[in-house]
């Protein structure tokens, strides 16, 4: 727990377990969903997934940056960036799961003393 990195393959496996499609088709559908979200964001439109969160597009103005190596000032061109705003449901889920583990970890430490 906590040291794994999931990839597309894991998402495809989750889809495969849920529904009677082949592994190949499950993988293709995962790709299609990600591509649909990507192209919507790239077009400048935000994507809201209820109880998960929203992918928003923000416009950034030009600002002055600095090359951290040389200290030289360089202009950073205006750009669009994608930000993710997690839903309260997602935030609560993560907070609760981690809080519980932290609490049981403390108990284990006390028991060992």
């Amino acid at each position: 727990m906590g040291d794994r990195t999931l990839t597309r393959a894991d998402l495809a496996e989750a889809v495969f377990r849920k529904i009677g499609l082949s592994r190949t088709e499950s993988a293709q559908l995962v790709e299609m969903v990600l591509e649909e979200i990507c192209s919507t964001i790239a077009s400048g439109e935000s994507v809201k997934i209820s109880s998960f969160g929203s992918f928003l597009v923000r416009d950034k103005n030009e600002r002055v940056g600095r090359n951290p190596k040389t200290g030289e000032e360089v202009p950073i061109s205006p750009r669009r960036v994608a930000v993710f705003k997690p839903s309260n449901v997602l935030k609560d889920r993560i907070l609760e799961a981690h809080g519980k583990r932290a609490a049981s970890g403390l108990e284990l430490m006390r028991a060992a003393e």
Binding site: M1, L6, D10, L11, V33, R79, V81, K91
Partner: protein, 93 residues
């Protein structure tokens, strides 16, 4: 775009699937990511981006209205970093 529109878009391109099956698929994807983050795992989707959990250590904050010192508990918050391809596509002319 909201989730039902995402489901509709995928269903339109897959006429052999029922819309409710596409909904199950989309839900399975986001449920899997939610579960991974709850277990403190990372989810890395090349080209799209990476989801991770960031730890915010406990700190003492202040009630901005009264100026009173309050302790803020340790927190874990979900974080998303957009992938290189997505960043480039956002700024492609």
């Amino acid at each position: 775009m909201i989730k039902s529109e995402l489901v509709q878009a995928i269903a339109n391109r897959n006429p052999h699937l029922y819309q409710r099956d596409v909904e199950t698929i989309v839900n399975a994807i986001f449920d899997e990511i939610t579960e991974a983050l709850s277990d403190s795992n990372r989810v890395e989707l090349r080209g799209f981006g990476a989801f991770s959990v960031k730890n915010r250590p406990p700190r003492s904050g202040r009630n901005p209205r009264t100026g009173e010192a309050v302790s803020v508990e340790e927190k874990w918050v979900p974080f998303f970093k957009a992938g290189k391809e997505l960043r480039e596509r956002l700024n492609a002319k």
